[in-house]
Amino acid sequence: MVQINFAQKQVNAKVVYYGPGMSGKTTNLEIVHQRAPTGNRGDLTSISTDGDRTLFFDFMPLDLGTVAGMRTCFQIYTVPGQVYYNSTRKLVLQGVDGVVFVADSSAAMVEENLESLRNLEQNLNEYGKSLATVPHVIQFNKRDLPDAMSLDELNRLLNPHNAPFFEAIANTGQGVFPTLKALAARVLESIHQSGSRAGSPQPAAPIPAQAAAPIAMAAPVAAQAAGQGAYYSATPSASPQAVAAAQRALQQTGFHGAVQAPGRPGSMPPPLALPAQPIAMSHGAPEMARTTVHAPPPVGHGGPVGHGGHAPHAAPAQHVQPPAANHAAASLRMAPQAPVLQHGAPQLGRPDANAARRAPAPAAAAHPNARPAAKPEARPQAAHRPAPAPAPAPAPAAPAPVRRGSKAWLYASIFVVVALGIGVVVAKTVLKVF
């Protein structure tokens, strides 16, 4: 979701590199990070496994500079490509404003490409979006592979919405920046168009999760190749076997219209429903075996997850113990007075108006943006901290203690009498002796 902050004069958008495992998403980001001007790029953060496979995401902020008086920034993410990580992949897609789909050009990777594209559509659907509406571009990476498929075939299979497409060899940097530039232009254009539609009714309701996903594999081929600026010259066409494999893959997943007439967005063939079963888990066994080596244990294993789930609750108690006990207790005792978060209350029309009236300090009239002056006497921790509770008053005399006292007195009396008796006997004996 685009964030426009007029106070900071900043526009933020989120861009995600999506695609099958090992297709070159992280490599794209690394190249952008290496070659972007120092002043425009932020740190590249990777959450990856020991084997350098993306575990959650890679992230890099890219500052495009000032556009019409607004500092325009892209937050660029990659997703983990492996089938196993669909839940984290889906999280990264939340609020996405533009997608680069990085496909592996190898004929052996056709099925993985198709599955990843379907998975992208499905995950977008869960956020009420679709490839038909989200700005996206396609990058056909690894064009230097000997078994790279032709652009025509790749487009027919992987570019259902006639998005701009680019050839790339990401590890050499070829095609990386044209891809990103094209996507950035599309995203910024969509921001501008949405801005100019401001105040108009919102777009139609989002597509339900299981609604028809426009994975119609239309063929843009010739016109696309002519008009969309292929970056790198075409390589030999894919073998007929590879094409046949792709067709089989499409038919196995319930799609029977793969090579129909070209479909422009305005004249798309009827969208086809996705297969009901979760695509991500459909044939991921080899991937799982390969990628779970360094992966955290699955949720079902209980121990770590259960422990982690409780940790935030358990830790504070220990952390707070010695120094915090007083503060925490003071905080709790302050609760009924509710005096503390009052400054600025009148201006903001806070709902807790009654508490505001109970506030003792006139400092509440300060401007909400003004940091309150350091007035030791006004520091809430000190000012509102209740005085130490007085020691409990001695309990008034009650029947029970009186009874206990009487018993003691009785025992004492008996003891004294017995002692006196013994004393007298001893004295007599002594007198007799002498």
């Binding site: 556009v67 501008h192 503060h327």
Partner: protein, 168 residues
């Protein structure tokens, strides 16, 4: 899915000066009371909305993205465990600690604090501040777009193209 949630999912989020002034007032009040080091308001996509206190500017984007990612993962974990969501997240460090609270549907309130205060204080004041921030953010989210006093310049599109040509 409610109308509001639909809107939150499909719309852009626009903050005007008055919104940010209100939000910063809340953050300032929180910092004063809790003695925390810094307070960040981040939307759930990982974009920083505003920040107050002692913050290192250069790492803010990364911190915001990681906080949002971390919270998203926690939310998914909660869902798998049968909880609706974990509304608070806490990481304890040797010197600094961070607590993240969910603010309504839309944003995250991250607090960085050190030995000058303690978790009890931070948590107590954060609870109230979160509620107040949610009031402001709800106004922002439910306000029809275009009602604010500022708009994107009409030449945003052409300027964007020029900026891209310059950068790439």
């Amino acid at each position: 899915m409610g109308v509001r949630e639909q809107k939150l999912r499909t719309d852009r989020l626009v903050f005007y000066r008055t919104d940010v002034t209100k939000l910063e007032g809340e953050l300032d009040g929180f910092l004063e009371l809790s003695s925390a080091r810094s307070a960040l308001l981040i939307d759930r996509e990982g974009h920083l909305v505003t920040k107050r206190g002692e913050v290192q500017q250069h790492s803010l984007d990364s911190i915001s993205a990681l906080v949002a990612g971390s919270f998203a993962a926690t939310r998914e974990m909660a869902r798998l465990l049968g909880e609706e969501e974990f509304s608070t997240l806490y990481h304890q460090g040797q010197r600094d600690s961070i607590q993240v609270s969910l603010v309504g549907d839309r944003a995250l309130f991250a607090v960085v604090f050190d030995e000058r205060t303690n978790l009890g204080m931070v948590r107590y004041y954060a609870t109230e501040t979160t509620r107040r921030l949610d009031v402001v953010l709800t106004e922002v989210a439910e306000r029809p777009e275009g009602e604010g006093e500022e708009k994107l310049a009409s030449d945003f599109g052409s300027s964007a193209t020029a900026a891209l040509d310059k950068l790439f």
